[in-house]
């Protein structure tokens, strides 16, 4: 397993009112993601625990696109990954952001 934390900044605070959201399953080729709203800052932290080794650069690229596309400021994101492909990771992240925004 590999663990690392990515710190970044969003352009805006994440929309929506949900304090947390949870999506996905730690199945083969899949991952679970827990979103927790921390504060009204622009900080984004993403804590990754992954069964695949050596993909940190790809994770950083995926997170960068995700942050560009959804502006999840003030959110802490924790990920348990069991070998998901980057497209699955991005899909789950986008789904999580939507859950944070869709729920009131």
């Amino acid at each position: 397993m590999e663990k690392f934390t990515i710190h970044t900044q969003a352009k805006a605070v994440l929309r929506g009112k949900s304090s947390n959201a949870f999506t996905g399953v730690v199945a083969s080729g899949n991952l679970e993601i827990l979103f927790e709203r921390k504060d009204n800052s622009l900080d984004v932290t993403v804590e990754v625990m992954t069964a695949s080794h050596g993909y940190q650069a790809v994770w950083e690229a995926v997170i960068k696109d995700f942050v560009d596309r959804t502006s999840p400021g003030g959110v802490h994101i924790a990920i348990h990954d069991n070998g998901a492909r980057p497209d699955t990771v991005l899909l789950r992240l986008m789904q999580g952001a939507r859950l944070m925004g869709a729920q009131s």
């Binding site: 790809v58 690229a61 995926v62 596309r69 492909r85 980057p86 497209d87 699955t88 991005l90 899909l91 986008m94 789904q95 939507r98 859950l99 869709a102």
Partner: protein
């Protein structure tokens, strides 16, 4: 004085040679190899009927047993090189030269045999291209074909898997060739006459029914959320935009996902009756839910599909069904329909380069093309118009003047990473390296970039019609190439500019709710569900059973 009857006399001579081995038109299975040894001559062009579905497998096996010192240097001209026996002909020195279209499971063996010089390759064709050459310069001297049943006069019932047979037989029989058919059963009366007996020289009742590969069965259980997302993107970004009514689908899982989303997501988009009403398509089991919920008006088939016969017989308003009540397929006519009468082709590929060229060749596999290049090509002879065709043409031209002709929509759907995390987007196609290695004058390309109109990945749509130069094309492709090296090397500013122009459209640009990208959105999630949709008429092969 010129002898104008050489072929006729040669045919008569060969028939005379085997007279002792036959009773009327009937040959006993044990005598087939001896018959082939006498009736086929070295250097003959031979079509051993085989395509991506049905196989004249008994005759293939018999042909591998002929004595190579008597019969050698055959020139094999057939659409599919699929059975191991097909390769054995070259390995044993019976055959030497090859012209074909599709290889599927033998794609690795063909690449090795080419490399070892066992095969002298004529060309890799598309189906109709090879069929066309049957009538110009690759006419078979002997054709070995497969049918369901025959009567003693040689009238053949080829049934749902008629496929290539009429095309092969016509070329051979009318040019003084010899046609031998293996049949599952010799009967008193055939259910219908697909091939008239006067075009058939000999029939043999094979020990086993001819083999048919269930090539077009995609198990809904294996459709992934990423493929569902791609299908949603295609439905909203292409089907709803261009409204293509007449189309062909490839055999990948992403297009199977589209078929399974028509009754659910397609219905939500209000597209029923507006798109995908008329098809040139094999009997895909995954289309059953769309047929049952009233999306489809008519389907013409290249071939059949294992397990679908009873369902199709019960839906004669949809399929082409003989007066006997079973499907009639025809690969030549259906390929022609796909080329000229369809507004859209949408299918998968293995590799796409920065110009949009796509290929299914890998360094050690030559899979051939089958029908994709014709389905996926703009037919420049087309003259009739449709809204979808005109809209695509006008987007490409940037205007709608009186002489702006239309374009066929040619859509490549591909996940950015394929099996084993292999990137689908590459700087250079593997087929170019292969062509260099084998000294081929032209690298095998399935669909050339100038024919591709859209590329769909899970990242969105790249609309190549709207690209105005090579740099646009390259950045549009990089822009949907995700986290592959090609995608990571994109120029972010240019990609954003293309997005502004609508050349690249992401799911959020299309208003797609990603939470809907769930397997529960599929109208059927298993083969069992498809059986239920078919009211028990679809009988899947046992390898697809899960209950």
């Amino acid at each position: 004085m010129t002898d104008w009857l050489k072929q006729k006399k040669e045919r008569a001579r060969r028939l005379e040679e085997v007279a002792s081995l036959v009773s009327g038109k009937v040959v006993q299975p044990a005598d087939v190899t001896a018959l082939l040894e006498r009736i086929i001559c070295s250097g003959d062009r031979v079509c051993l009927e085989g395509d991506n579905q049905k196989q004249a497998d008994f005759l293939a096996e018999c042909l591998t047993r002929v004595d190579p010192s008597q019969v050698h240097d055959l020139h094999i001209v057939q659409s599919g090189l699929v059975l191991s026996e097909h390769l054995d002909l070259f390995r044993l020195g019976i055959a030497r030269k090859l012209d074909f279209s599709y290889s599927g499971p033998q794609s690795g063996a063909i690449a090795r045999a080419l490399d070892q010089g066992k095969i002298k390759l004529g060309a890799i064709h598309t189906y109709i291209e090879l069929f066309a050459r049957y009538y110009v310069d690759l006419t078979p001297n002997v054709s070995l074909i497969a049918a369901v049943s025959a009567d003693r006069n040689g009238n053949l019932y080829t049934g749902p898997n008629t496929e290539d047979t009429p095309t092969i037989v016509e070329a051979t029989a009318y040019k003084n060739g010899i046609v031998i058919a293996q049949v599952n059963k010799i009967v008193d009366t055939v259910p219908r006459i697909d091939i008239p007996g006067d075009q058939i020289d000999f029939i043999v009742e094979a020990p086993k029914p001819f083999y048919v590969e269930p090539l077009f069965t995609r198990d809904p259980a294996a459709v992934t959320e990423t493929q569902i997302l791609m299908a949603m993107i295609a439905l909203k970004g292409i089907y709803a935009e261009y409204r293509p009514r007449r189309l062909n689908h490839g055999i990948g899982f992403a297009t199977a996902a589209i078929e399974l989303l028509l009754p659910t997501y397609g219905e939500q988009l209000g597209l029923r009756g507006e798109v995908a009403t008329h098809w040139a398509l094999n009997p895909h089991p995954t289309l059953i839910p769309a047929i049952e919920s009233g999306w489809v008006q008519q389907i013409h088939c290249f071939g059949s599909e294992v397990g679908m016969d009873r369902y199709m017989s019960a839906r004669p308003d949809i399929y082409f069904i003989g007066h006997d009540g079973t499907l009639r397929s025809n690969r030549l006519l259906c390929q022609n329909a796909g080329l000229y009468a369809c507004d859209m082709f949408i299918g998968s590929t293995l590799q796409i380069d920065l110009a949009g060229n796509s290929s299914t060749v890998t360094p050690d596999r030559i899979a051939g093309f089958g029908g994709a290049p014709n389905m996926g090509a703009d037919a420049h002879g087309r003259r009739h118009v449709s809204d979808a065709w005109l809209k695509a043409g006008r987007e490409a031209a940037g205007n709608d003047g009186p002489l702006v002709r239309g374009r066929k929509l040619v859509v490549q759907m591909v996940e950015t990473f394929g099996e084993g995390m292999k990137p689908a987007f590459v700087e250079e196609l593997d087929s170019i390296a292969l062509a260099r290695k084998l000294g081929m004058p032209l690298a095998p390309v399935m669909i050339f970039g100038d024919d591709v109109t859209h590329i769909v990945t899970e990242e969105g749509i790249a609309n190549l019609l709207l690209c105005r130069n090579a740099d646009d094309v390259e950045q549009a492709i990089r822009g949907v190439a995700g986290y592959t090296p090609v995608g990571l090397a994109r120029d972010r500013a240019k990609v954003e500019a293309l997005r502004e122009r609508g050349v690249i459209r992401r799911p959020e640009d299309l208003g797609i709710n990603l939470l809907q990208a769930d397997r529960n959105l599929l109208a059927a999630r298993s083969i069992r569900d498809l059986v239920t949709w078919s009211d028990g008429l679809y009988a899947p092969p046992s390898k697809f059973r899960n209950w």
